[in-house]
């Protein structure tokens, strides 16, 4: 018994860590089925009502729509800009490399509240009102670094021999990039886009500073937390969890199938 325990101690520990990780998720999901009425604080009975009518609580879906719109636009721009920087850093030698590395690292080492406050200070100085586009601009700014780091890691893991082989087979530089390099880096770009979207969708602090009266989903949750969050917010939170999980699992399945061939 004692031997078994010491042998499996780390597995038990990991299992407990997973339980800890999933407690609030289980709670959020359970309370999405709560027949809550106005405040979703105590259990009042099981119902599918919230899932059948996720837009039932006023403003939930407006907020969700804003978050999705901001997330998509910011992800698109940040992924494009970040991938270009990652290729420059991963595939080229040039002067000023370490400065670029520092510039990419700094936004990640800066607390969100400083990023949010400084952007708002600039917008106010320039006479620009906070709102939709200032929020998009802010989200692109803090997502770029994460895209660069993710894509750069993927580029660094590639075997340079594959590209050399393509060139030896008379592919031009453009062809090599389009038919060899880019497809190999694609999973990294896709992962970076997913990361950027989830960072943008979940952001509260920077958004709170730069969105003015526009409500995003996290902002809606924050504002309504004082008087009780409608169960529909739990429905949306749970759906986001399930959708993201499905995307990641399908991605894993596809890539493991590809590796087998």
């Amino acid at each position: 018994m004692k031997r078994w325990l010491s042998k499996n101690l780390i597995k038990i520990y990991a299992f407990l860590a997973f339980v800890y990780l999933f407690i609030p998720i289980a709670y959020t999901m359970a309370f999405s089925f709560n027949d809550a009425g106005k405040s979703n604080l105590t259990w009042r009975g099981f119902t599918f009502k919230n899932w059948q009518n996720p837009c039932g609580a006023p403003e939930v879906c407006t907020a969700l729509g804003n978050s999705l719109k901001i997330g998509f636009i910011a992800t698109l721009i940040a992924t494009a800009l970040g991938t270009m920087i990652a290729f420059a850093l991963g595939r080229h030698r040039f002067r000023g490399r370490s400065t670029v590395n520092l510039l990419i690292f700094l936004p990640m080492a800066t607390p969100e509240i400083v990023l949010g406050a400084s952007l708002l200070a600039m917008f106010l100085n320039l006479g620009i009102n906070p709102g939709f586009w200032p929020t998009v601009i802010a989200h692109v700014m803090f997502c770029i670094s994460f895209v660069v780091v993710t894509v750069k890691a993927r580029i660094a893991s590639l075997d340079p021999k594959l590209e050399e082989a393509a060139m030896d087979l008379y592919a031009t530089e453009v062809e090599t990039f389009r038919r060899v390099t880019l497809p190999l880096v694609m999973p990294g770009i896709f992962g970076a886009a997913l990361l950027a979207f989830s960072l943008s969708f979940d952001d509260f602090i920077i958004t709170n500073f730069n969105s003015g009266t526009l409500t995003t989903f996290p902002k809606f949750v924050y504002i309504s937390s004082a008087r009780g969050i409608p169960a529909q917010a739990n429905v949306i939170g749970s759906s986001m969890f399930l959708i993201a999980l499905a995307i990641v699992l399908v991605g894993q399945f596809v890539s493991s199938r590809k590796n087998r061939v």
């Binding site: 780390i10 597995k11 520990y13 990991a14 860590a17 997973f18 990780l21 999933f22 407690i23 609030p24 998720i25 709670y27 959020t28 309370f31 604080l41 494009a80 800009l81 270009m84 920087i85 420059a88 080229h92 030698r93 670029v100 510039l103 990419i104 690292f105 990640m108 080492a109 607390p111 509240i113 400083v114 990023l115 406050a117 400084s118 200070a121 600039m122 106010l124 100085n125 692109v140 700014m141 770029i144 660069v148 031009t172 530089e173 989830s198 979940d202 509260f204 602090i205 500073f209 996290p218 949750v221 937390s225 969050i229 939170g237 986001m240 969890f241 959708i243 993201a244 999980l245 894993q252």
Partner: protein, 298 residues
């Protein structure tokens, strides 16, 4: 022979096409974005931080007077929250490390074919909203929640005392919310360790503990450094956990900056505090990275 010559000639022209301007063209759009919306705002913030309100002006109107004493005033007024932010963030980082290291170790070395699935499960909780998770903790630890009910029945807690609205709840929330930032870099560095180095250690008569202390842990150090930084930085600037799970006595520097900005409309103090927070974090990070001896962070 001609074939070889053709290849070498071709590859030399391919190298020749590679213009030295390409990397700069790739960098310009992204770096301009960062220059305009990250670097430039920091200068605006610096300029705001030394402004003062002119006599009899409306709220929110400030003029540049280069008053550096703003920094001293701001620090004196909120040094308590400053110190608290650093301490809470440090405790949360250490707790996150204690939870994440064995977890990352188990996934990297003990999970076999379940590795990828477990890795997904580490990240998965973080797809539900950060705020929903924090509010879930608030209700789980709340006075009507299961934890307090059980603890009160067991007489661990008195009938009047609870767990939320306390420093304990704030630190718990921070530990939970930044956990994947710790686990993923740890996993990445542990996974890179060649199992043969561990075998070599045991061949040289090192027991489990010695192997860990002399081989595994030193090799995972880059992950420890990256993970602690990625946890500490957002934790120190956070104010959501303190707002939702704390009480007026657990306010952090983020709360002060936020309320100076939006409630008191005191932009100069908010700006000065933001700068001091950034400086404090950068100094701590630099000192820590230098001690840990890893330069390549990104």
């Amino acid at each position: 022979m001609a074939f070889v010559a053709a290849i070498s000639k071709r590859s030399s022209t391919v190298r020749g096409i590679k213009r030295p301007s390409t990397p700069y063209l790739l960098l310009i759009p992204g770096l301009s974005w960062l220059a305009m919306f990250f670097i430039f705002p920091l200068f605006t913030l610096a300029s705001t931080s030394t402004q003062t309100a002119p006599e009899g002006a409306d709220t929110g109107t400030y003029v540049q007077t280069f008053r550096l004493a703003n920094y001293i005033d701001a620090f004196v007024a909120s040094r308590e929250q400053f110190l608290r932010s650093i301490i809470y963030a440090l405790i949360a980082t250490l707790l996150a490390l204690a939870i994440s290291y064995p977890l990352a170790y188990a996934i990297a070395f003990k999970s076999g074919k379940w590795k990828n699935l477990l890795l997904v499960l580490v990240v998965a909780p973080f797809f539900t909203s950060f705020l929903l998770r924090t509010i879930a903790w608030k209700q789980i630890l709340g006075n009507e929640g299961p934890v307090v009910t059980v603890l009160r029945t067991l007489h661990v807690l008195g009938p009047q005392s609870g767990l939320t609205a306390s420093a304990f709840a704030v630190v718990t929330g921070m530990t939970y919310n930044f956990l994947p930032f710790m686990t993923l870099p740890l996993y990445a560095s542990l996974e890179r360790i060649d199992p043969r180095t561990l075998e070599a250690a045991s061949d040289l008569y090192a027991n489990g503990l010695t192997t860990f202390r002399k081989v595994t842990f030193p090799l995972s150090l880059p992950g420890v450094v990256a993970g602690t930084l990625l946890t500490f930085i957002p934790a120190a600037g956070d104010y959501i956990n303190a707002t939702l799970l704390g009480n007026p006595k657990t306010k952090m520097i983020g709360n002060v900056i936020e309320s100076r900005f939006f409630e008191i409309v005191d932009y100069p103090t908010a700006a000065a505090l933001s700068f001091m927070l950034m400086a404090a974090i950068l100094i701590l990070v630099m000192a820590y990275v230098r001690r840990a001896g890893t330069d390549e962070l990104v």
